[in-house]
């Protein structure tokens, strides 16, 4: 049937495109979950105005600006503050008491997107009186997204959802204690990022970032295939100190991974794990 043929050809074209991106720019998307990626590739082809994906190859090879749009599009930096409030409540009530037993605490937030999750955790740590002892590494692989995270400026219209999330996550004050509204945007308090280091780190191609007590990597692994998930989970295992914690997105899990036996499940719904000594 012609439709199936053209699909197979398109698949080949996507392979070529990803190969070109890897060799020209060093970003490796070959082991990303295909269905979601295919849709994004088609969108880009439509926006650029080409009828075949392969026509994107020469464009991308010679147009670095188009490439940064493409990475931004592949990356999906969709996030919010206190996403999954019960998860943050669990961290507040159950994980933080463990963190208190360490004289200093290092935390890695991998795939931090535009930073909402970073400010959320910073607020929580402040409220629990442990922020001063913490160092947070917030990493992502897209520079403009990281710049946005560092600035901490968000649309005012998002703050209603964010505030509701904050309350449901066990917030001790009101979210507006932590930002200044200015016209239609808000600026997060600079004090929240005093102990935060924003850095570019690619989970696919870079190694251990630092040895840490807690890793948050939420809603990133669903974009990877099984092979890549296992590789990244190995990286997390190697990055965790004794007794360290790993938090994944609520629809991600260690269940199918090679390292599941090396972790204990602390919270099955919100996917919080602790490394077994």
């Amino acid at each position: 049937m012609p439709e199936r043929d053209s699909l197979e050809i398109e698949e080949l074209e996507i392979d070529l495109l990803l190969e070109a991106i890897l060799r020209r720019y060093g970003y490796d998307f070959r082991d990303y979950a295909r269905a979601s990626l295919r849709r994004k590739v088609r969108q880009i082809a439509a926006e650029v105005g080409v009828s075949h994906v392969s026509e994107l190859v020469p464009r991308l090879l010679h147009d670095a600006e188009l490439f940064s749009n493409v990475v931004g599009n592949f990356a999906t930096p969709v996030t919010e503050m206190f996403r999954d409030p019960p998860f943050f409540k669990f961290v507040r009530e159950t994980v933080v008491p463990y963190l208190h037993t360490w004289p200093f605490v290092r935390i890695w937030m991998a795939g931090c997107a535009t930073g909402e999750e970073v400010y959320s955790l910073a607020i929580l740590l402040k409220e629990e009186g442990i922020y001063e002892r913490c160092t947070l590494f917030a990493t992502d692989f897209v520079d403009p997204v990281l710049r946005h995270a560092k600035e901490g400026i968000y649309p005012l219209r998002n703050m209603q959802t964010n505030s509701i999330n904050y309350q449901r996550a066990g917030g001790r004050g009101t979210l507006s204690d932590y930002y200044h509204a200015d016209y239609d945007s808000v600026i997060m308090d600079a004090g929240l990022r005093e102990n935060v280091t924003f850095a570019n780190h690619n989970l696919v191609t870079d190694g251990v970032f630092s040895e840490v007590h807690l890793i948050l990597c939420r809603n990133v692994l669903i974009y990877f295939n099984n092979t890549l998930q296992n590789r990244v989970l190995d990286l997390f295992h190697a990055s965790l100190l004794h007794g360290g914690f790993l938090a994944l997105g609520s629809k991600e899990s260690l269940q199918q991974s090679d390292i599941r036996d090396r972790f204990q499940v602390l919270e099955p719904t919100w996917k919080v794990y602790r490394i077994i000594e």
């Binding site: 439709e3 269905a35 979601s36 849709r39 669903i222 997105g249 629809k251």
Partner: protein, 199 residues
């Protein structure tokens, strides 16, 4: 996916989507399917404030087929009903595994029917059946058109009897050749299309 015993050689999967009123509509269809229904059924419903939190359990209780919330990378199994978790898009990979994503909303919705339908058309081509039910927006119309273009079979709940006609009407406008039927007839038609008598 391999062909299952007792299924017609033509179809390999069913995708169903709905919005406002969709819970009742899906419940009617799914609970009418016999336990020998040989295809996986993948369901996307828009979140609604009146959605009971344990809706999947409730449907599982009523249905003769096992009903479960879709998980990322879960392989499709014949005769099982998969429902998209609220807040996540549900897609199908070409190897017949389920995939979740938190991509931007599509048609103001996550999950979106268009995303499921489009990825399912890629995965199953002519072996797919797509069904659009009641709803108050246009999600699903473009996806159903992709299913039709790939040679799949398309069905739409009759806008005259749907609780909310906008969504089925939009789907019909995009795919005029789709079969139009009431809920009970959709279930009967699925059984007729997918179960080979005497097999």
């Amino acid at each position: 996916m391999n062909q299952q015993k007792g299924s017609s050689p033509r179809f390999a999967a069913v995708v169903i989507g709905g919005s406002a009123g969709g819970i009742n509509a899906v419940t009617t269809i799914v609970s009418a399917l016999p336990s020998c229904f040989p295809l996986p059924v993948v369901v996307v419903l828009h979140q609604s404030p009146d959605q009971p939190p344990c809706w999947v359990d409730y449907l599982d209780h009523l249905a003769r087929l096992p009903v479960t919330e879709a998980e990322d990378k879960m392989p499709l199994v014949a005769g099982t009903v998969y429902c998209a978790p609220p807040g996540y898009h549900l897609l199908l990979e070409t190897d017949g595994a389920l995939a979740l994503s938190v991509d931007e909303k599509v048609n103001f919705s996550r999950p979106s029917l268009d995303l499921l339908f489009s990825s399912a058309a890629d995965a199953f081509g002519a072996a797919l059946i797509g069904v659009v039910l009641t709803g108050a927006n246009n999600d699903g119309a473009a996806g159903l058109a992709e299913i039709a273009a790939a040679g799949g079979l398309t069905m739409v709940q009759s806008p005259c009897t749907a609780q909310w006609p906008t969504m089925p009407a939009a789907a019909l406008q995009a795919v005029p050749e789709a079969l139009v039927a009431d809920l009970e007839d959709i279930a009967l038609k699925l059984v007729e299309l997918c179960i080979v008598k005497g097999a």
